[in-house]
């Protein structure tokens, strides 16, 4: 639902960086999106296709990298990844309240010329 606003911010950030680097065109934009960010990658793609025409990023590829949720289990003193968004430690089965990764929404890099 808010992917349009998020893609708009990401695209502005990318265009700003491209301009600073003196680019004529953006070939690729790579985003890192955490599974707990609440953002749907397909909706980002859709928003990108709507927003990119007429900008330096027209026709660019959008590469969305998925960042899994990673939690810290205090009892087992170990970090674990979770696929289902919940924080149950696979070892002791207790929930962890310490999220270490998975909320990212980041413009990682771009290919420009």
């Amino acid at each position: 639902m808010h992917e349009l606003a998020i893609m708009d911010s990401a695209l502005n950030l990318a265009l700003d960086q491209a301009q600073k680097a003196g680019a004529n065109h953006i070939h690729l934009i790579r985003l890192r999106i955490g599974v707990l960010s609440g953002v749907v990658p397909e909706a980002l793609q859709f928003a990108f296709e709507a927003l990119a025409p007429g900008t330096l990023a027209e026709g660019a590829a959008l590469d969305i990298q998925h960042v899994p949720a990673r939690f810290w289990c205090q009892d087992c003193t170990r970090e674990f990844e979770s696929d289902d968004l919940f924080s149950e430690c696979p070892n002791c089965h207790r929930p962890s309240g310490e999220l270490r990764a998975g909320r990212e929404m980041e413009l990682a890099c771009m290919e420009i010329e």
Partner: protein, 302 residues
Amino acid sequence: MCKECGCGLPGEEPVGFKAHHHEHAHGHEHPHSHGEHEHSHDHEHDHEHDEQHGHSHTHFHSHHLEHSHSHEPSDENRRTVQVRQAILSNNDRQAERNRGFFRAHGLCVLNVLSSPGSGKTTFLQQTVRLLNNRLKTGIIVGDLATDNDAQRLRSSGAPVVQVTTGTMCHLEANMIARALKELPLDGLQLLVIENVGNLVCPASYDLGEDLRVVLFSVTEGEDKPLKYPPIFQAADTVIISKTDLAQACEFKRDLAVANLRRAAPKAQVFETSARTGSGMEPWIEFLIEEHHKNAKRDSLMI
């Protein structure tokens, strides 16, 4: 993919990738060598790297193959630029400014989130009434349209600013900064931000609050926290609202709490009915305690 940190940068650079400034926001720099690229060339090219980079790579040009290939000029000019910046960094920056402003004014700030119809406005009306000036409270309320909620909240006696977001499904930090200009801040101790009713989008936007409060009503079903994990993950406090309707809805309280614990293991949970007042007193005491805690922290900082 870069094998050292999984950042997704090409570990083996394809031909044409030039500037590769590999700097990681997570605090370590690591030079890595890209081994030898084996590809045949019918020409020499020198590598002009127009960005600083801390790795060396050797290109091994073997000329034993009997073909020549030319590089597309566009390939030659392509370069990778590392950005590694949060997409919502503008919002995050404004949220930090808001946070500084709130601290300077001794305000304890709540960002109240829920799906539409879970009882946020009634809950907040009762909160202000029961606080009974023990904390002087102001309210910012966000809705797509109308100021119905603001009018209802004004009846509690608290100053209220309505933010109408138009088509936006969430509040952003700069909307709060603007709304603050309309709010009489003198002597205010608690600021409650009633976000747009939505269990997905507002989770991404920091407003500068001290506490994120998520409501879910017994009428929404026990599995709500399992259906919307991100917003519950981000909650400091969860209010199970409309408990007076629990019986009529055959609400399974223990199951709901267990589900909530899966999605939000650390959140403090209150079970309330704004209509009957049941469970409201511990919530009120909690708010007063939070305000004291903040005030103490802020005085230590000064």
